[in-house]
């Protein structure tokens, strides 16, 4: 069960991380 929970947490964390990086790159390109 622990491995299953870790899998879901890692999956969500990776996508949240990607979303932050993507939003930050776009803000930088907009000159903010």
């Amino acid at each position: 069960m622990t491995y299953a929970i870790i899998s879901y947490i890692v999956c969500v964390a990776l996508w949240i991380g990607w979303a932050f990086v993507t939003a930050s790159r776009e803000r930088k390109l907009r000159g903010e």
Partner: protein, 233 residues
């Protein structure tokens, strides 16, 4: 070519994000309530995120392949943008697969990693497309888009190898056929639909960076041409 993000792009992006996040949440909820597999126990629930992510990886790199061909045929920067964006989103999906796989393998096969055909070919796939980003990021010349497109086409060769690896080589631990009870199958199908929608939303979101970068490059070129004109005048 004008590099302004069209209005419909923003609307479609928001709608896709809403639908994708709602469906992903639903798939997590269904996964929590899905029947527990008799042999593997609760760890089998990793399948509902591992398999859809693997399928989304192959679709994303397939889109990179198609968009790379389209770029070489048309030289329209937007196709290169789609290829690079899809490749980046695909890399995140591939990383999810590379992390959830060993977690599942530890329980199912009693090992974190084994050099069986599917794992080995998928690792090669991950390394190849990571290389795509490294090479692309290191290029600043005019040939950047062309070289990226060639990589997007050449690396695609590995996709059918990953797909067919369990049939082509012996010793695969991945099953060729899986039998599931209807509740499990429905949960898996909803998970696949959810992560495909998520892929679409993430692709549109990532493509915004390409629009912005191109707009910036065009404005820089315009400013440079203007200043050269003033110097000549």
């Amino acid at each position: 070519m004008n590099a302004t993000i069209p209005g419909w792009w923003n609307g479609l992006g928001k709608a896709l994000w809403l639908a994708a996040l709602a469906l992903v949440a639903t798939s997590f909820w269904l996964a929590a309530g899905a029947p527990i597999e008799v042999q593997m126990g609760p760890v089998q629930k990793i399948v509902y995120v591992h398999v859809p992510s693997a399928i989304a990886t192959l679709v994303a790199f397939g889109v990179t392949f198609a968009a790379s061909i389209a770029y070489l045929a048309t030289k329209d920067w937007r196709w290169d943008g789609v290829a690079a964006s899809s490749c980046e989103v695909g890399m995140v999906f591939a990383t999810v697969v590379m992390i959830t796989g060993p977690l599942w393998a530890r329980s199912a096969w009693n090992t974190w990693w084994t050099w069986e055909p599917r794992l080995t070919t998928f690792l090669i796939l991950w390394i190849l497309y990571a290389g795509y980003h490294v090479v692309r990021a290191s290029l600043r010349s005019e040939s950047r888009r062309t070289i990226s497109s060639v990589m997007g086409i050449v690396f695609f060769i590995n996709l059918p190898i990953v797909w067919k690896s369990i049939e082509w080589w012996r010793g695969s631990l991945h099953p060729k056929n899986v039998t599931m009870v209807p509740e499990m199958r429905v949960t898996l199908l909803i998970g696949m639909a959810a992560w495909m929608l998520f892929y679409g939303a993430a692709l549109l979101q990532r493509m915004r960076i390409e629009w912005r970068a191109e707009a910036l490059a065009q404005s820089d070129e315009g400013a440079l041409a203007g200043s050269e004109g003033r110097v000549r005048g």
